[in-house]
Symmetry: C2
Subunit: 264 residues, 2 copies
DNA sequence: TGTGGACCCTCCCCCAGGGGGAGGGTCCAG
DNA sequence: CTGGACCCTCCCCCTGGGGGAGGGTCCACA
């Protein structure tokens, strides 16, 4: 039996942290003296403490650490760990995108964006929609688009698009709709016909990776304000050239349309 | 002038976050109505908001974001940003190390470590010492070792070593001492002669990268406890084979000695 | 058999960087 | 002029810890 201080020295976890892990039922001392409350640990608990330490270094939330530790089957366990490793990779690519985008922001490009005011008529498309959280958009988009492609196939009459509720950005959760234009929208699985309403759009084109698109949003927003207009309704993106067409991100083109109305 | 809601839609920052940035003097509205407290932003503030957003995505603390924003000179500014990018890289390598170490932990190696009990006599060495935080050890070590190498030169009579106070791991701050054995310790700069006290050591050898050394610590600790001993004093590491000798981490060998005394 | 110091306990407050919600004032179009 | 959207402040919540107060416990040495 080891006192908490001894165990701390052996695992390089602070006494405070060990007490917290006890409280959170992550690493319970082998023995707790009922009279004094003293915690006593056993040597066998050292590897467990080190696994916790490693997972915490990977910023795995304590609740997930707990779940991993309670999973007896090593196969399932490594699946859980692999999930977090994927999360780390996603975070890494997000970081890379932020870095490049930051560079773009800090070396200000004086080239002003071109904005076109366009009256878009209503039209019917094949769509998949859902209310989801901001963090899940990317994964959801991939699945929805795959389902759409399978359902529409060669009947596609134009580039795919997506509409995004403003609440998605303001509150982190909102309605998202992805669509493929087609003359006869099918109805299979999540795919169904949707009529995109007519709208007055302020339209510009974002060139390059989709990360950093919010800079273009900002420029578009500035244009809208300067032209005495106000935004109304979900933003519309049309993927003119995307990863499905060209692998080089520099060639991608995303049309961004913001429904506006004149303020006078 | 834009209301906070409009500005939120244009920057994809939540209203709450914008208010917080105002409170923290990071992004102050262009106009604040004295009577109502309403915040009004200008279009020119959109790029600033996006820079903040980018930096936050890189986990730059708000205080540092503030410092960056208040730096007018773009050269100095990009230096500050570059510092954070270096921090990101360091974090990335730390993450990689944790991943490999985690794999090692989850695929338990049944090979037990070999521990030797050794009486180490006192000896005089050339050393550099300091009380520092756990996070700074790596950087400090590099500098101290460079100074030692310069001072001792060819007079080296054995592999370098380092002693680490337990408080470094328990409280995140403690005394660290790195040394080079030499017959005539010089006295220049931070380098001075130190007598390492005699001690009874439980010694084992850690093979491979220094990350993951705490697993070896754990095994050594378990051995110490199982052999009815207790640890006393700072841990001693001796870098038998290190990055200065061989570039392949798999060949590195670190001797770890924990001062012990018999309990019974 | 003390006793002093190291060790341990609980409890409360602090940090960043937000989110949720209550309670109430303001703006503006119909 | 009124209703609903919008805005305000204030307080508590989250995670994963750290600092410190106030007090009990263990144990080696005298």
């Amino acid at each position: 039996m080891l006192t908490i201080g001894e165990f701390s020295r052996l695992t390089h976890l602070s006494v405070r942290t060990l007490r917290r892990y006890h409280e959170g039922e992550l690493l319970e001392p082998a023995v707790v003296d009922g009279a004094t409350g003293y915690r006593y640990y056993s040597v066998e608990q050292i590897p467990t403490a080190q696994v916790i330490n490693r997972l915490r270094e990977l910023d795995v939330p304590l609740s997930d650490v707990q779940r991993i530790l309670r999973t007896p089957d090593p196969g399932v366990r490594s699946t859980l760990v692999a999930g977090h490793l994927r999360r780390l990779e996603a975070e890494l690519s997000r970081t890379r995108a932020a870095v490049t985008s930051l560079r773009r922001l800090l070396q200000p490009d004086p080239a002003p964006i071109e904005v076109e005011l366009r009256a878009e008529p209503a039209r019917e498309v094949a769509a998949v929609e859902a209310v989801i959280g901001h963090a899940d958009v990317e994964a959801w988009f991939a699945g929805a688009m795959a389902e759409l492609q399978a359902a529409v196939g060669a009947g596609r009459t134009g580039p795919p698009g997506g509409n995004y509720d403003n609440s998605l950005f303001e509150e982190g959760r909102g309605r998202v709709l992805v669509y493929l234009p087609t003359s006869t929208p099918p109805r299979t699985g999540r795919v169904h016909a949707v009529t995109l309403p007519a709208a007055e759009l302020a339209v510009t084109t974002h060139v390059g990776e989709h990360e950093g698109v919010d800079v273009t949003y900002g420029e578009l927003g500035a244009w809208v304000v300067e032209n005495a207009m106000s935004v109304a309704g979900p933003v519309r993106e049309v993927y003119l050239v995307g990863p499905r067409d060209v692998s080089d991100p520099a060639a991608w083109r995303t049309e961004i349309g913001w429904p506006v109305f004149r303020v006078t």
